[in-house]
């Protein structure tokens, strides 16, 4: 009994000491809250894959009922905001050149008679084609069924063959897709790095030489070192989800508690990966490098940046080994599709296997010796 008690007390002593280090080290402590905050804002606001609210100008020279519908329909897509009413196509071109607007809608005076003739577009979209993303967005506007209906009577007579309906994220907003996944990326970034440095730092500063002559056991040291970061991981994830909710209106369709269970497995996996790095690296600098080397494939292959299904088979096999891949499936499943614990149990199991193997390896690598 006392052996277990002593062991738990030693783990608590190491954990408390670790938290003290973190509190004293302002910069690292700041990273705990700063990284999620910065990344969520960055990804949420700036790295926006869908283009909305492009400034648009309209030169409606026909001034008919249909032409006004056309403009109203285009505006309803939210891709453009009509901010200027121009009097000629030339004026639209000038506004475009000046950068006042990105899109111009030119409706000629003979709009109605053009509409009557089949096969030819009756209105023009002028686009600043310098930015391919903008161009792609406006191309999407042209292919809108609404636009085609108004533009040509013949096409209007035959309705489009497919009607696209987007599930889970009907408005196709990036944050809904990005922010939950960002939990995984940020947890990987901070937790792997923190623990990767944790043991190497003690070795570099000479603390380890003293520590290994004390009764503290290797598993106690390891558990004590990662325990504070589990709490930090949960705090970071909560911060990201709250920010996502408040700033970007990102919903969590499923149960938050299920998400926390899945996150627990992921945090444990990420921390032991860091620990393993810590037992291999000789200096803090090496630990940093190794943490980043483990970080890049996780970002690129996990499905965070590129859709998983588009990757060649070997890349997919590799990504199955990475903890982030599994956590992204868990977090997107729960947040977007309302998946239950049973739905994600396979992914949780994969994370626990990863955790067990890397913890065992870390224990084997770390000997209470200097040689």
């Amino acid at each position: 009994m006392t052996r277990w008690r002593d062991s738990l007390l030693r783990i608590a002593a190491v954990a408390r000491k670790e938290l003290r280090h973190l509190r004293r080290d302002r910069l690292t402590g700041g990273m705990v809250a700063g990284v999620p905050l910065m990344m969520t804002l960055l990804f949420g606001y700036a790295i926006n894959q869908d283009v909305r609210h492009l400034r648009a100008g309209v030169a409606d020279l026909s001034g008919t009922q249909t032409s006004r519908w056309l403009v109203a329909d285009a505006q309803a897509t939210q891709v453009i905001d009509v901010v200027v009413a121009a009097h000629s196509v030339r004026e639209l071109e000038q506004l475009l050149t000046a950068g006042e607007i990105s899109v111009g809608i030119a409706i000629p005076a003979d709009f109605e008679s053009r509409r009557a003739r089949a096969g030819r577009p009756s209105a023009q979209l002028l686009v600043d084609g310098g930015d391919p993303v903008v161009l792609a967005a406006v191309r999407g506007l042209v292919s809108l069924p609404i636009w085609k209906r108004v533009a040509s009577r013949h096409i209007a007579a035959s309705p489009p063959a497919f009607e696209l309906r987007a599930y889970y994220n009907p408005e196709r907003r990036s944050p809904v897709h990005i922010v939950p996944a960002l939990c995984g990326v940020i947890l990987t970034l901070t937790l792997v790095l923190f623990t990767a440095v944790a043991i190497v730092r003690e070795r570099e500063r000479g603390n380890l030489e003293l520590l290994i002559t004390t009764p503290v056991q290797t598993p106690e040291l390891m558990v004590g070192k990662i325990a504070p970061y589990v709490a930090i991981g949960y705090a970071q994830m909560t911060l990201i989800l709250v920010l996502g909710r408040v700033l970007f209106d990102v919903p969590i369709a499923g149960s938050v508690w299920t998400l926390y269970v899945g996150a627990g497995a992921f945090v444990a996996a990420a921390l032991t990966l860091g620990l393993l790095i810590s037992t291999v690296a000789q200096t803090q600098f090496q630990a940093f490098q190794m943490a980043f080397v483990s970080f890049l494939p996780q970002i690129l292959l996990s499905g965070f940046m590129f859709p998983f299904d588009g990757m060649p088979a070997p890349a997919r096999w590799l990504s199955e080994v990475l903890p982030l891949t599994h956590f992204l499936r868990i977090v997107r499943g729960i947040a977007l599709r309302g998946a239950t614990l049973a739905d994600v149990s396979g992914e949780i199991r994969a994370l626990l296997i990863f955790f067990s193997i890397s913890f065992a390896l870390a224990l084997l690598r770390f000997r209470k010796r200097l040689d």
Partner: protein, 315 residues
Amino acid sequence: MNGEPAIRTRGLTRRFGRVTAVDRVDLEIPRQAIYGFLGPNGSGKSTTIRMLCGLLTPSAGEATVLGLEVPRDAEKLRRKLGYMTQRFSLYEDLTVRENLAFLAEIYSLRATAARARIEVLLDEFHLRELCEQRAGTLSGGQRQRLALAGATLHEPELLFLDEPTSAVDPQSRRDFWETLYDLVERGTTILVSTHFMDEAERCHGLAILDRGRVVASGAPDRLMREIAAAVVEIETEAPRAARLALERVAGVHGVAQVGARLRALVDPALADPAGKLAEALRDAHVDARAALTRASLEDVFVAATRHHAAEANRP
């Protein structure tokens, strides 16, 4: 108290690749005494201590510490050993009190006992005014006091001190040694490594290490009495010329200047060494007086390491 030595080694050896850092060391260190390792940097002092703590695995030979075999029983020894590393190894971003409290927890002292023990240590090591200060802001002497307080917190039977006074002023060093004698009085055995002669002289027993080998061992005064050389002190106005003249004399092992005088180590087989040297100086037209004198520990050290070097160079 039993008569068994605190530490006994037989043929203890440690190789790092092709370098032999510790070479067939035999030691017998008695309990409740201060035993010193004297030697230059790289003589194998730290490596030996680390092997005795169970931090390094010996390449060959065996070691018994407090009746337990290392490294096999190293874990059982943890609570009985205190180790003060050469480099300050407590946490610089924790305060004096936090560092001690952390160690108390690691050594499973009960909370009330730990508090009481820390209070005692703060007074004993004059750390009370510094107790809320971060360890990183302490001076060399203060750090050393904290490190020793940390190493003795769990009242170990055996204390290893690896060059404890390298970064410390003379006054702090004297105080430090007073503390060590107090600890011995209370039953602790202390093994201390040093490269200071005055410190080595304070030890009850001594092993002189050179290139991983024990080249001489025993009590300091016995070592000085039984030195394998005659020591001649030369007083002269022209130390440089005298030195050049003496180094050419057969049987002279070495000449060192100490202040205004020269000390020459001479082969003990040589009859009337002082007379021989005086004659050599006269021949070289150097005005000087030579007389036999008592050997110092430094003479012992020079004689022992010279002897070893000569042996090592023999094909």
